[in-house]
């Protein structure tokens, strides 16, 4: 059985849908590779074009600029994570287990998912960790929000908030706590890697569940 999952993306993110053509898929695939390798700052459409053997103008036919390309892959990532959480929690009824699963999915090492041929989720996880916040740390936040570019993130946040409320219907801060889970699951892993003294973990330790354990304990004691 070979299943390929396809995520329906917000059409305002692109000028031409990259998932419908070979060149488009190459753009996504190699944008992820290049941003992962050199960071968003060093990344531009000229380099991307050279890397995949096309022209700068060719990329501009798909995306208005690199911020929207970043938003595309970051939005894709959040939708994919929500899908994974829903998938793994299928047929599980205990709210406690569901919430724990979600926390672990969000804060543990991701491996490349072969059901998405031109997207390397392992690289994408790193990109979201170190560049993801830049999608909303911009003066365009209002405009982007109107265009629903943050919908995948908000949907996931609401999904987690619902899991929290299922477990603890009287807890008053389900959304703030969901946002805390989302944010800290990525940023503690970023710090663990780059500024480990801001955490209680070190990057050398093999155990990749440490961040999840911290968050899990914090969350469950908060909503108990």
């Amino acid at each position: 059985m070979e299943i390929y999952i396809q995520i329906k993306m917000n059409e305002s993110l692109f000028l031409r849908n990259p998932e419908e053509t070979d060149l488009g898929k190459k753009i996504i695939q190699n944008a992820i590779i290049l941003i992962h390798a050199h960071g968003l700052e060093c990344f531009n459409f000229k380099k991307l074009a050279q890397h995949i053997g096309t022209t700068e103008a060719g990329i501009y036919r798909y995306f208005e600029n690199k911020q929207l390309l970043l938003l595309f892959i970051v939005d894709w990532y959040w939708s994919w994570q929500e899908y994974r959480i829903a998938f793994h929690n299928k047929n599980i009824s205990k709210p406690e287990l569901k919430l724990k699963k979600a926390i672990h999915i969000l804060s543990e090492t991701v491996v490349d998912d072969i059901s998405t041929p031109y997207i390397n989720e392992k690289l994408l996880y790193d990109i979201v960790m170190s560049e993801g916040a830049k999608t909303f740390l911009t003066k365009h936040i209002g405009e982007y929000n109107k265009a629903k570019f943050f919908k995948p993130y908000k949907d996931l946040c609401l999904h987690i908030a619902d899991l929290i409320s299922d477990y603890s219907p009287n807890y008053k801060y389900a959304r703030s706590l969901a946002t805390t889970i989302l944010e800290m699951s990525h940023s503690l892993n970023f710090y663990k890697k780059n500024l480990p003294s801001l955490t209680d973990f070190s990057d050398t330790k093999k155990d990749d569940t440490l961040v999840a354990q911290f968050i899990e304990k914090m969350v469950f004691s908060a909503i108990q």
Copy 2:
């Protein structure tokens, strides 16, 4: 009694110490004003120079580039917050009260502190909220870390972690929790303002202690 506080800054942040000359102080003061008004993306040394009536090259004599200028003011902010926390907790012995005070200082509205004439802390708070993360979301993170540019943030993190450990000596995740406090105290306020559906608060509500209340409850149930 008029007291002016002065924070000793890391000398590698600048080429010439801006706090020692009139032009230098103007650079800091107006950089804060302009970054607050238009965001870091739109901000550059040419605009800053025009705004204060000097030349681009003049600014470059003080700072190598705008990232280091941002680091300067963000580092200043974290040192100032640590100072405020220490100041307000002077002669208070109960660890519980100290930690609560720290949480409130970090997550509630800041007003301009007149003991720092050319720095508007109110504007600076907004800048740290919406641009602060960009200081470490860069490929230069390793190099900046070596140069100790993140020391003020780390010191504050450790300060909070110590307050946590004083209250609850057996708690295993003092640093991660301190980082969570620091990060969420700013980012929840950012979301409250810009993407309120990610929080349980709305920007219209007058009460500015809501974020603090959420964090306080979460923290104290975690370390109980």
